[in-house]
């Protein structure tokens, strides 16, 4: 193992920590997978009115982010919505 590998390598304990942090955010928010699915569907409905989006590639999750104030890490709704065509609405 080279030195570069050593620094890049993500230990299994770090993997565990990261996974736990994520799962606990949604656990604590009391957000069940069904509710997430509903939020996802609602977002799709709204966005689809204006732009054509790639529903297969759509990804919505609750994650953590550094707050802009000084509150440390706060939960955030992260949505990755690939756009297929911006001009659909100009027809």
């Amino acid at each position: 193992m080279s030195l570069a590998d050593f620094f890049k390598k993500k230990t299994s304990s770090n993997v565990a920590k990261d996974r736990l942090k994520l799962v606990l955010v949604s656990d604590r928010a009391g957000c069940s997978p069904e509710i997430m699915e509903q939020i996802k569907n609602d977002i799709i409905t709204v966005i689809s009115r204006y732009i054509e989006i790639d529903m297969e590639g759509l990804d919505i999750k609750i994650t953590q982010t550094q707050s802009e104030g000084n509150n440390g890490v706060v939960p955030a709704l992260f949505a990755n919505i690939p756009i297929k065509d911006l001009k659909t609405n100009k027809k």
Binding site: T11, S12, S13, N14, A16, K17, R19, L20, K21, V23, L24, D27, R28
Partner: protein, 263 residues
């Protein structure tokens, strides 16, 4: 006026009963008058871990239902002058008692004992609600594994919701060799994730298995786990006890690093 402590974890098999037995025995060794209550109705275990299984006459449900007086059901541990066990019922289930009854029982024991320690069943259902009903403070046990930590987080949330103000964390079965090579979360990692105060770290020690085989808590013995449990007992009394050096061999460099981290 005695203090009621609930030992809980959410996930099963992380060491609630072992911790109840050892911390309780530790407090008794420190001259406190202690009663251990096994609230796991239907799956009683604290009696065998304590080595008192042959002395059960009455149990928790008998007391609650008024079949006997509390004094009759308490088993005195002859090895320690101040230690008692109230065993659970094996042939009943969790619905045999209510949280109100448990709270009343705990309050009745407060006059007589310095510490009333409730061994909580796994899960978050009725048994958990019974065990926390009368509690002033909680010891949450977890191991450094994702499943146990996740359940501990849920339990901590439920304890807060039930207005149990003082909650402390015990990280059990830590393997410092695995932590060192990055294959196990450290107690610091777990504390960071759960954001509650740590009161003890118990190393993964085969002496625990030997001690439960024999029915004799190892707290205070010359083993790593025995020392770690005694330290927790002292910390419960409010003493400021430094944390054990869990890894046997350690270089000067990591010792220095640890020293810096602590300060």
């Amino acid at each position: 006026m005695g203090e009621v402590i609930v030992v809980t974890s959410g996930k099963g098999g992380v060491g609630k009963t072992t911790t109840t037995a050892n911390v309780g025995t530790g407090l008794a060794k420190l001259d406190k008058k202690v009663v251990l209550i096994d609230t796991d109705i239907g799956l009683r275990n604290l009696d065998v871990v304590m080595g008192l299984e042959n002395r059960i006459v009455y149990n928790l449900v008998d007391v609650v239902e008024g079949n006997c007086r509390i004094k009759q059901a308490l088993i005195k541990d002859k090895r320690y002058p101040n230690l008692y066990l109230l065993p659970s019922a094996q042939t009943r289930d969790k619905t045999a008692v209510t949280p109100e009854q448990m709270k009343k029982l705990a309050d009745e024991l407060r006059d007589e004992f310095d510490y009333i320690i409730m061994d909580c069943p796994a899960g978050i259902e009725q048994g958990f609600k019974n065990a926390i009903a009368g509690a002033d403070r909680a010891l949450v046990i977890t191991t450094p594994e994702v499943s146990a930590v996740r359940d501990a987080d849920r339990i901590i949330g439920l304890l807060e919701a039930n207005e149990i103000k003082r909650t402390h964390l015990i990280v059990n079965r830590l393997r410092s060799d695995m932590v060192k090579r990055g294959d196990m979360m450290s107690s610091g990692d777990v504390v960071e994730i759960l954001a509650v105060d740590l009161i003890g770290v118990i190393p993964d020690d085969e002496n625990i298995v030997i001690s439960t085989n024999q029915g004799e808590p190892l707290v205070g013995s010359d083993t790593l786990a025995g020392q770690a449990y005694m330290n927790i007992s002292r910390r419960i009394l409010g003493e400021d006890v430094p944390y054990l050096e869990l890894s046997g061999r350690q270089g000067l460099f990591s010792k220095l690093a640890n020293l810096l981290k602590k300060n």
